[in-house]
């Protein structure tokens, strides 16, 4: 992996990633809601509803709790910014990214953590009981999800001796047999659970209700309104999209371009959109069949994810 390769095509690829994620993310969340509604026999809002919400929110005035500080007002910006940084770093379209120095799986874990922590601090900053509750639950879940996440990363990184995303993606592209091995399937299982937990989907948190007492994310963003809320909504949907893109490129790397030539980049964009959409639809369909877990059953789920990831590492060493 050479350092920076700045060319028009690579800049274009990064810009495409940013544009796809920023504009596609609310659509993706809207699509999932629609799929869910259709499966439940309801019509549901149109796919672009999230965008309409965001636009409406941007028209409103910002409000801030009386006793809060800059941590409250800056958290939405930090959330969006850390997600933007991840989008810029990870290879979604081509494995030859400009910023290969940042395209590291471990680094991305810490960037994700930074976004969540800023939200958790902002919720405590509001000085309400609901904010504290959401914050406390969010941090507990994140703390327990972390081992599963990092060990799952270890399982995919260990065979290639590298935590660099480009290397891992290229490596798994070259060994197509690997895709169905037990270690990858186990790591995939762990990853899916962690992604669901990190982005507050069922069975960890229910994104469809807005009752502040039972929820994690809803309690966190309770005090936001106007443009700030728009940014939180946008940031969370971007995060979810990025996680899905990461998941799809780690485990189903088909279609990603290994060069910077225009035709393969176009194919890669189409493949990325298709993969992420399929994953999202699958998750939405799965959510119809699942109920939300009790909060104190969530550790069991995450411990299970940890077991899956350790089994993944062990099997990657048995079968080597």
């Amino acid at each position: 992996m050479n350092g920076a390769e700045v060319s028009l095509a690579s800049v274009a690829a990064v810009m495409a990633q940013v544009v796809l994620c920023v504009f596609g993310a609310p659509l993706l969340v809207g699509l999932m809601r629609t799929v869910r509604c259709r499966l439940e026999g309801r019509v549901g809002p149109p796919v672009v509803q999230t965008w309409r919400d965001v636009r409406k929110l941007l028209q409103k005035q910002r409000t801030q709790p009386e006793r809060s500080s800059i941590f409250f007002t800056s958290a939405p910006v930090v959330l969006v910014a850390t997600t933007l940084a991840i989008i810029v770093f990870i290879p979604m379209i081509t494995t030859r990214t400009i910023f290969s120095g940042g395209s590291d799986l471990f680094a991305i874990v810490f960037l994700l953590l930074a976004g969540s922590m800023s939200l958790a601090l902002a919720a405590l900053d509001t000085g309400t009981a609901f904010g504290g509750m959401g914050s406390s639950r969010l941090m507990a879940i994140i703390a327990l999800a972390e081992p599963a996440l990092l060990v799952a990363i270890l399982a995919v990184a260990a065979p290639l001796h590298s935590s660099s995303l480009s290397v891992i993606v290229v490596g798994s592209l070259h060994h197509s047999v690997w895709i169905a091995t037990p270690q990858r399937l186990l790591a995939l299982g762990a990853f899916v659970i962690v992604v669901l937990a990190e982005s507050g989907r069922l069975p960890v948190d229910n994104p469809a209700t807005h009752l502040e007492l039972t929820m994690i994310h809803e309690a966190l963003m309770l005090e936001y309104s106007g443009p700030d809320l728009a940014f939180v909504v946008l940031g969370e949907s971007m995060r979810f999209t990025v996680l899905l893109a990461l998941l799809s490129n780690l485990f189903f790397p088909w279609g990603i371009s290994t060069s910077l030539r225009a035709p393969s980049l176009v194919v890669a964009v189409i493949a990325l959109v298709a993969k992420v959409t399929l994953l999202a639809v699958a998750i939405a369909a799965g959510e119809v069949a699942v109920a939300k877990l009790r909060l104190f059953r969530v550790p069991e789920l995450l411990a299970g994810a940890f077991v899956l990831s350790v089994l993944a590492v062990v099997s990657s060493l048995v079968i080597s």
Binding site: Q61, V80, G127, A148, H161
Partner: protein, 668 residues
Amino acid sequence: MTVWLVAMAACGGVGAACAAAAPNNARAVLVAVFAIGASLCGLIVSVWVVQSGHPVHLATSQILPFNGVELRLDPVGALFVGLTAVVAIAVVIFNVGYSRGHTMSRTSACALPIFVVSMLLIPSVWNVTTFLFCWELMAVSSLVLVLSDYQRSASVRSAALWYAVLTQIGAAAITFAMVVLAVKSGSQSFSAIALHAPSLSPAVRSTVFLLALAGFASKAGAVPLHVWLPKAHAEAPSAVSALMSAAMVNLGIYGIVRVGNTLLGGGPAWWWIIVIVLGATSAVFGSIHSATSTDLKRLLAYSTVDNIGLILIAVGTAGLLRATGHPAFAALALFAGMFHLVNHALFKGTLFLSAGSVLYVTGTRDLDQLGGLFKRMPIASTIFALGTVAITALPPLSGFVSEWLILQGLLHGISSSGTVSVVLMPLSVGALALTGGLTAAAFVKAFGVGFLGVARSSAAESAQEPPRLMNVGSGLLAAFCVVIGVAPIMMVGLFNRVVLVLEPGPNSIVRRHGESFAIQNAHAMFDPSLIAIVLVVALGVAFSARRILSRHYSVRQAPVWAGGRSFQTARMTYTATSFAEPLQRVFDDVLQPSHDLDVSPSGESRYYVESVQFGTRGADLFERHLYQPVFSFVRVIANKARLLQNGSVHRYLAYSFAALLVVLVVAR
């Protein structure tokens, strides 16, 4: 260069004497002057040693018995001396501000320079007697400092007792190990010992290593010898806690590395497996406790246990990799461990000093009583926030880089050696990850509950900025965290020098590649500066996007949603106890808390409640299940031993006489 070493030691002695003689108001300043003098001398020598790569050597047969004093500062020692010096400078500056409100007693003013200088000397001594002398000096002076506030409460005295006992047991183990080495190799000098050590029998080597490990681990605060640490660090004055947590515990690691790598020249894999297991246990145990503590300084102390655990994981991995024939990756792991040690010293120093500021202005360490400090003391709070970001390993501050390096060490450990490491590495990664997550929870709690939101007591309500020098002290360390986090690449040369001494062999595989870390033999390139830049740019973009896109950018202050009620008091907000509750439940088996629920009904009906009091108490698992049985056993023995002692002088003389006879017969 030897002059500076002598000057360093002299500063300590003179400083102690002057401080003891000085009047109340000048004491802290004098201590600061001399301690900074000693630290600067130390800093000059260590910078010279690291720059030139040549050790500084000084030997005299005068001052101490046996072989006299021998000092030799190599790059490894220089790292520790330099680090201690930086921390000490910040701490004594802080202490000047602190002494405005709390006058320093004559005893602690005398002990502080001695403590600082003994810590500066330990990494630079090069023979057994001098080492043990300095070690004891450090133990005694720190004990005196822990006892500074002994009149305040019984818990201070109990903490000091725990510290004294464990540190002396540790010192005994170290003494025994060192004496065995000196006797077996026929010389006291570390060079001679290192020369002879390979020819010793494996049993002797292992005994020495295990004893030294136990002794140094008790100083470093590794589980299960950590019990003193949360007590002593919480009860000592904040400046002392900062010194102990940011400088003294490092010397425990120094000892393990010095004995394991330099004196014994590495060892079999199982030594290092023990180290890794110790490290992983400490990391997880420490972070569970810090995530559930509600006492700010106790939380920080347990987080020291957890960071020491991470460093031990790295050091152990390095030893294991060396034992299994992968010196290059061993160097990587050691690099990571030393880097994390430096970072930990800097951010933990920052955090302890800021906690000291909080204690100074509010008079409480209880997070449940704090809150809303950010608006009332913005500078001190910002410094604590910087420490928080660094310790939770968030980019772009310092903890991020070293945790990444430790993970790289483990990643390469897994793919390059035998069965055991294959089993240990994923578990270590799991331990490290859990630790990382719990640390994040712990510090969101510490900062979010303590500094943000609403003030929960009148003390927090009336808080204001502490004296400026206190902020200067903690801010100095915070600045280091920022600089190292943004441009860690400038540290590569330093750590490579250090690692080269400990793992002689191939050049380190951590290289500079432009502005990024490159790990040779592996496709890993990592550029923390790039991440920092991208983050800042992204922040700018997001910030201006919010500004441009929103129609009304001005903010309206609004009351919060309180579930439909029209008012909300500070008592309704989440406290640290409630914040930690989910994690407390999850780790119930480890924490084994006991709950006190006290409901007092009002008047005749038991359904109307006057007041409810809820409290949780959690004693340390090891304290309860490991130490208490030992104590009760000792108590039984001690009661038996009282029979020997009836106050008669004749009997005591008879004992002495009998002992003399036995010695004469045995040692004939």
